[in-house]
Amino acid sequence: MDIAPADAERAALVDRLTDIARDLRVMDIRMITEAGSGHPGGTLSAADMIAALFFHKLRLRPEEPEWPNRDRFVLSKGHCIPIVYAAMAKLGYFDEHVLMTLRRVGSPLQGHPDRSRLPGIEASTGSLGQGLSVAVGMALSGKLDDVDWRVYCMMGDGEQQAGQIWEAAMFAGRHGLDNLCGILDYNQVQQTGKVIERLDIEPVVAKWRAFNWHVREIDGHDVGQIVDALDEAELVTGRPTLIVAHTIKGKGVSWMELDPAWHGKAPDEEKAERALAEIRGGD
């Protein structure tokens, strides 16, 4: 059977991003293990989307982090920054050996992102619920200056419980910020249990639609769907887009998956080796 060139190109892109996501998960587990603390669950659920963003969608110049025309990425769920550090290292923002200084005194790789310490981090985050407002301000600035760079903001499902998220959602919808794309990493688990058992956020799609956002639901571990949704968001006019990405907290390590225990705990060396074996072995 003949494969059209565009299809072959796309299949190659999906393969490439899938490989990158696996590499990011490996780097992520290694650095969190070395640090001895961190939040592996939410980094693993975000890995496929971080790969698609940083290696396909975002226009960046790692050698020039302050390049004015770069796209902006705000990680509102700041505790999951190690997966972004991994992507940044792989892109050449800094040397890969720096990953092993995560959470150490004096390291640019703070436990939660600090833009003053690490060029390329757009916003210091870590207090849940605040990142989307900052991203909205960036998108608003982009509209004022009529520029073509775009703003992406990844949120957690737990922080959908914060009022400030909905303040920002209302403002962005009202102002039609179509240069803004939110991504909800709906990994179903927050620190102390299942989201549905702590404070259910459903019906979350209907909520965002009611705030005048274009909403698309995807499987957040299907790289093809991620790429399609990110591409589609660029074509939406007059409304911001939210990609509701259904994911699995701890994705890629079977015994971490959907277990709240792995929200905020580093594996020991033995468990890390088992995790890495699963990640490397899995397709």
Binding site: S116, E122, S133, V134, V136, G137, G142, L144, A168, M170
Partner: protein, 307 residues
Amino acid sequence: MGKATRDAFGEAIIRVGGDPRIVVLTGDLRDSTRTEEFAEKYPERFFEVGIAEKNMIGIASGLALSGKVPWVCSFSTFVAGRFEVVRMSVAYQEANVRIVGTHSGIGVGEDGYSQMSLEDLALMRTLPNMAVVNPADAVETERAVEYLVEHRGPAFLRLTRQGVEDVTPPDASFEFGKAVPLRSGTDVAVLATGAPVGEAVKAADALENEGISALVLNVHTIQPLDEEAVLDAASGRTAVVTVEDHSVNGGLGGAVAEVLAANGAHAPLRRVGMRTFGESGSPAELYAKYGLDADGIARSVREALAA
């Protein structure tokens, strides 16, 4: 009585408003914060965020990180009071946001305590990079606004709802971080900030008739504090009296106490300000009740000297 400093702000932001970096945001308080005229003159750079101050502060951060100089305008307690967002989304980001808090202190008057910020100086002063400016009158407010357009880093500007006595000459310049001597005196040092500065000057004039010679310093910048001026004021004088329409804890009085103690200065310190929640009443009645008018300040000075 001179203008309210919020009125001076409203005029000043129009004068500097031609700068395309300047963006003004309010939370349904364009009238009270005197930003209506800016909204009419520069509608494309004015944003009504609604009654959602946390979001407003966060949006300002994003604007600042993209090169704008946003001015977040609301009652002080509704912006400085959203401390955790100011801490995280403004200060820690090193974002060039100007937080403009009108309706500071018991000078708010009849609306009562819920609208009065008595804690904002203390809160803002704990953030290591936050400039904290509390002008005494209209002229000083205008100069401070002009200065803050170019200042690098986050800043908090604290303004009054009510009219205040003018103490600053029209041609005075604004020196960020420098206290301004308004009366010279050798017996006692009165360090005042914001709305009651004019009352402190009147108190010094009254005390002079009693043979008490009082230095009056207008401490318009609470952070960075003019430590040299504080220590000079304490040196060789019998007592130091601080005056602020704010809690006596953590604001000017607290900052001065820290400087005196850290430097081993032994001048007795009397802090005039709030030790309770505020309440409803006219600004003049409340200033009299809580000892922030000229009579009250003079009384505190006498007590400090007699102690």
